[in-house]
């Protein structure tokens, strides 16, 4: 019988090039299989951007309103004794202009102005409002406010923000500071300060700061989660794998084909998620390409964990169970409930072995601080991915496969 001429030596489909061709043909097979599972494909490509759009919609219509409600309590009309000049004054010339400026600030709603010199229970009233959630902060104008401004000195305002929701505190303070800065600038005063630390990396006013801060957790979750779900069954549910192994194909070639195919899908997923995020108003101080790279890095860690689970599990049920276990751990040690720095050292070690502990800070550093992609977080994600890739090849090599 005449030898069939194959790529490579006749009748001998071995060697690197033959292996490479089998891998490429294996990638083609993977895409064909992916295309046949439309629900899974929709899950992979359509759901992540939909989650982002839904989340941004929720943030827009949520109770976390961009408007900060303030009650101003002024002591400016009280008697001020200037120890330097030994002069007693009751100057409050700038109180009402400041209150007016605050009232005219679009992102602030002035709920009440109380002159403490006329109402000795002014702070009680304001605290009561704060207690019952009627305002987000009390702004106190101290007794020396107008006097200091007259002398060209920097005045100080005091604020009492609602600290029940820590994420909002800085946003509240920033809005008050912005109003104060505008007033000082408009009237050519020395800038004065609100007595909380002014955060340097603020989100510009026309972006939704809450959306941005929450996206630092949502984005890594979406990328890691969706890639994990997509890959946990790819080895275990492919029934002809044992039969394929009775050909010159080997286990490593099969797994490499899958990694390539699902990385290409990840490229599309990352692009879709980035587009949805930007379209939904995500502010990025850094470069969009760096954010895309971060999404890819986090997503690939999910792919590698999913491939490991699929290579390890003997049945689909086992794969689903392993997925559940991994995802629960991923979720619990992500830092969303307890800051990672506050965890006991052994738990912290587990947290750092999973991608979200690095993915969230990486995205935060790019979006909020404008730092580049190349960072220790990217390196950590890379190491995690490499570790799970290696584990997946070990798992599939040890997998007993017989027809």
């Amino acid at each position: 019988m005449k030898e069939r001429q194959f790529f490579g030596k006749p009748g001998k489909p071995t060697g690197f090039l033959a292996s490479l061709l089998r891998i490429l043909k294996g990638v083609r097979k993977e895409f064909k299989l992916v295309r046949t599972d439309i629900p899974n494909l929709l899950l992979a490509l359509v759901v992540p951007p939909l989650i982002i759009i839904l989340f941004s919609s929720l943030m827009t219509f949520s109770s976390t309103a961009p408007i900060v409600r303030i009650t101003v309590v002024s002591y400016d009309s009280n008697t001020f004794f200037d120890t330097n000049s030994s002069v007693i004054t009751t100057n409050d010339n700038y109180t009402l202009p400041l209150v007016g400026a605050i009232n005219n600030t679009p992102s602030i709603k002035l709920v009440a102005y109380i002159n403490a010199s006329e109402d000795p229970y002014a702070m009680d009233v304001a605290y009561n409002q704060l207690l019952h959630g009627n305002i987000d902060a009390i702004l106190v104008i101290p007794v020396e406010f107008s006097e200091f401004l007259d002398q060209g000195l920097p005045a100080m305002l005091e604020s009492v923000p609602n600290t029940q929701e820590l994420l909002k505190v800085q946003a509240i303070l920033n809005k008050i500071q912005e109003a104060a800065d505008k007033f000082a600038q408009d009237n050519n005063f020395t800038p004065f300060y609100v007595d909380e630390v002014h955060q340097e990396y603020t989100i510009p006013a026309h972006f939704n700061g809450d959306f941005n801060s929450n996206m630092n957790l949502v984005l890594p979750f979406v990328m890691a989660g969706i890639t994990l779900v997509l890959t946990i069954l790819v080895v275990v549910q492919e029934k002809p794998v044992p039969r394929l192994l009775l050909t010159p194909t080997n286990k490593a070639e099969i797994l490499v084909s899958k990694y390539i195919a699902y990385t290409v899908i990840l490229l599309v997923q990352s692009t879709a998620v980035l587009a949805a995020s930007l379209g939904s108003g995500l502010f990025i101080r850094g470069r969009a390409i760096d954010l895309w790279g971060a999404l890819m890095a986090i997503g690939f860690s999910g792919v590698s964990i999913g491939m490991f689970i699929s290579s390890l599990a003997k049945t689909k049920t086992e794969a689903n169970q392993l997925f559940f276990a991994f995802f629960i751990i991923l979720f619990l040690v992500s830092g969303i409930f307890v800051p990672i720095e506050g965890m006991p050292v052994p738990i912290r070690a587990i947290a750092y072995a999973f991608p979200l502990a690095h993915g969230a800070p990486l995205i935060d550093s790019i979006t909020t601080k404008g730092l580049p992609l190349a960072s220790t977080e990217l390196l950590s994600l890379g190491l995690i991915s490499v570790a799970f890739v290696v584990l997946s090849f070990i798992a599939i090599a040890r997998r007993k496969v017989e027809v």
């Binding site: 019988m1 069939r4 194959f6 790529f7 490579g8 009748g11 001998k12 489909p13 071995t14 033959a18 061709l21 089998r22 043909k25 294996g26 083609r28 097979k29 064909k32 299989l33 046949t36 599972d37 029934k239 002809p240 044992p242 039969r243 394929l244 009775l246 050909t247 010159p248 194909t249 080997n250 017989e402 027809v403």
Partner: protein
């Protein structure tokens, strides 16, 4: 003009397979020649699949000893495994292990052809060749396998096993799960492929009808090879070269049955129905008349007597029965 001696496709010599302390295959030796169809017969658990797994490189060398050659190559050596696998084809019992149900038959051919390094340009030609031989309807070639009938799936599965023109094809229970009426069709297709392409085939089965197309059969029992020969030779090894006496007698009971086994010249007696027995005896042509006279004289009412040639099924059953009786005797 001299004829060349047939070359062996498979050589097995003193094969033992053990897993831990348990020996599952004991001292098996046989040869299968190129172009032959060999039937690997035995009840479930006999060890057929284990031997085939050695030949298909699925059991590591640490678990077996002896000499094995598949198309001239030793499967004990890792460097030979890819070469052996490229020369053999395998058709598993379950089609779902051999086919991507989500893909069409043509796409399945592409997947497995790629595994053997067959260029895409050749795929349609190959698919057309084997699909035509196996009568797979052309209008199903581009639709998902899951939409095909069971018989069509079985034939596509066989086509996949042949796609790279293997020298040697293993088929695991090719007729199991197939309608009785279709079973002969499958066997005929296999015979047709063997004649047209010269493919050596090893059919693992407990369907004795498969022996109809086999050039040789290997009977496995409890990890041992009982027989390896042509079906004709095996039948002719029976008393009277396989010629049997078939008697129908109403009211056949165990007493009568036992009495028959004790008759002079009678080697074996097997039931062939409620009232019918088949008697294997020496020189049946001349001794049968005397036997019948004695039975009638003992009060046996005989309503029908025929002389027939034993089927292979009958040979197999008798052979296994003999071994079982030896085993009982040893106990």
């Amino acid at each position: 003009m001299t004829s060349t001696a047939p070359e062996p496709s498979i050589v097995v010599d003193h094969l033992d397979v053990s897993f831990g302390k348990k020996k599952v295959i004991s001292d098996v030796s046989f040869k299968i020649y190129k172009g032959e169809i060999n039937g690997f017969l035995g009840i479930s658990g006999a060890g057929k699949t284990t031997i085939i797994k050695v030949l298909t490189c699925q059991i590591p060398a640490k678990h077996w000893t002896g000499t094995v050659r598949v198309e001239g190559l030793d499967p004990a050596k890792p460097k030979n495994i890819q070469a052996i696998l490229s020369k053999l084809g395998y058709v598993p019992q379950l089609e779902e292990l051999n086919l991507y149900y989500e893909l069409s038959p043509l796409d399945n051919v592409k997947v497995f052809a790629a595994a053997y390094g067959i260029p895409d340009s050749k795929v349609f030609e190959l698919a057309e060749k084997y699909f035509t031989i196996l009568d797979i309807p052309k209008d199903t070639w581009r639709h998902k396998v899951e939409t095909m009938s069971g018989g069509e799936k079985k034939r596509v599965s066989i086509a996949i096993g042949l796609i790279h023109d293997p020298r040697l094809l293993f088929l695991d229970e090719p007729t199991t799960g197939v309608d009785a009426s279709k079973r002969y069709d499958i066997l005929n297709y296999l015979k047709k492929i063997n004649r047209q392409l010269g493919t050596t085939m090893v059919i693992i089965t407990h369907d004795l009808e498969a022996a109809l197309i086999c050039d040789t059969v290997s009977i496995i029992r409890l990890g041992k090879l009982l027989e390896h020969d042509t079906p004709l030779n095996l039948i002719q090894s029976l008393p009277s070269q396989g010629n049997i006496l078939k008697i129908t007698t109403p009211g056949l009971d165990n007493r009568v049955f036992r009495a028959m086994t004790k008759e002079p010249g009678v080697k074996h007696v097997m039931r062939a129905g409620n009232d019918t027995v088949e008697i294997f005896m020496e020189d049946v042509e001349h001794a049968s008349a005397g036997l019948l006279e004695r039975l009638v004289a003992n009060g046996l009412a005989i309503t029908e007597v025929t002389r027939e040639r034993a089927s292979f099924r009958r040979y197999f059953q008798l052979r296994i029965q003999i071994e079982d009786e030896k085993e009982e005797g040893r106990k």
